[in-house]
Symmetry: C2
Subunit: 155 residues, 2 copies
C-alpha cells in the first residue's frame, strides 16, 4: 500500500537521512547518504564543509552535469510489517547560499539538525544543493507502519 | 576516514538494508531499498513474491537493460561521530534460482532474515538479483563509529 499524504509530509519533515542518487559522467548511478530539510516543495542539503580537503564532491559535479536525481527515504526494522519507503524523483541544482530562499533553507537545516552547531558547515557563504521534486512514489507494508509514523487517520 | 576491511566485512554480513540504484530506460537513476545477503564476493537479493500483482519490478527491468548498479549501506544516528557509509558499485544480473550458487544465496538470505519464514518469497523457483562488485568506497566520521560496529583493532 502507499503512504497517505499526511505520512509523506511528516516523513519529509522529520526523517533524518536519505539516499541521493546522481549520475556519474559515464552514466552510472552514484549514491550517497544526505541530511536534508524541506522548505515548501523543495528539498535542501548542505554540500560544503568537509569537501574542502578533497575538492568538489562527486554529487556536486554530477548535478552540474546532469540535474536528474532520485532520493530515497526508508525505514527498516526487524518487524517487516512496519517497513516503508518514499522515493522522490526530481531535478537538482547547486545554488549560492546568498539568495533568500537558500538562507531560509539554512535556517531550516539548523533547526532540524542541532548537530550543525558543532560541525560548522552551515556558513552563509558557499553552496547548497536544492532538489525540485517532480514525482514521488511510496510503499508501506501495512497500516501498522503508518500508525507507527504517528500519521494515521487519528494521528 | 575510511572503514577498515574488518568493518566492511562485518557490515556486508550484518547490516540489514541497502539502497539499490539502477538506471531507468531514459537514464535517470532509480533507487529502492533492498534486503540482501553476501556469499563470498557476491551480493544477492530476492526479487520475486510481491511482484506478481504489479508485473515485473522496475529494478529487474532496469538491470536486464543496463547492469550497472550502485548499492549504499549507511548508518544514521543523532550522534554524528558515529556515522558511516559503504558504497558498492558493480554489475547486476537476474539469475534463475535453480543453479547451485543461487540456491546457496537463498540459504544465506533465509539465515540472515528469519522474517522470510513468514512472507514466503524465497521459493526455489523464480529469479534472484545478483551483484558482482567491482569497486567500493567507504566513509566513517570517527574511530568511535568503527568501535560501535564492534570491528575495531581489538573488536
Amino acid at each position: 500500500m502507499v503512504l497517505p499524504d499526511t505520512a509523506v509530509e511528516r516523513i519529509l519533515d522529520r526523517h533524518p537521512v536519505a539516499c541521493l542518487a546522481t549520475l556519474n559522467p559515464d552514466g552510472r548511478p552514484h549514491v550517497v547518504p544526505i541530511v536534508f530539510a524541506r522548505v515548501g516543495a523543495m528539498i535542501w542539503s548542505a554540500v560544503d564543509g568537509k569537501s574542502k580537503s578533497s575538492g568538489t564532491l562527486a554529487r556536486v559535479r554530477n548535478i552540474r552535469r546532469d540535474p536528474r536525481v532520485s532520493l530515497l527515504l526508508e525505514h527498516y526494522e526487524p518487524d517487516w510489517t512496519r517497513l516503508w519507503w518514499l522515493r522522490v524523483d526530481g531535478e537538482a541544482e547547486i545554488r549560492e547560499r546568498s539568495d533568500a530562499e537558500a538562507a531560509a533553507a539554512l535556517t531550516a537545516l539548523s533547526r532540524k539538525y542541532p548537530q550543525y552547531a558543532e560541525v560548522a558547515v552551515l556558513a552563509p557563504h558557499g553552496s547548497i544543493l536544492c532538489i525540485q521534486p517532480h514525482d514521488s512514489r511510496s510503499w508501506c507494508a501495512s497500516a501498522a507502519a503508518i500508525e507507527a509514523l504517528g500519521a494515521g487517520a487519528h494521528g
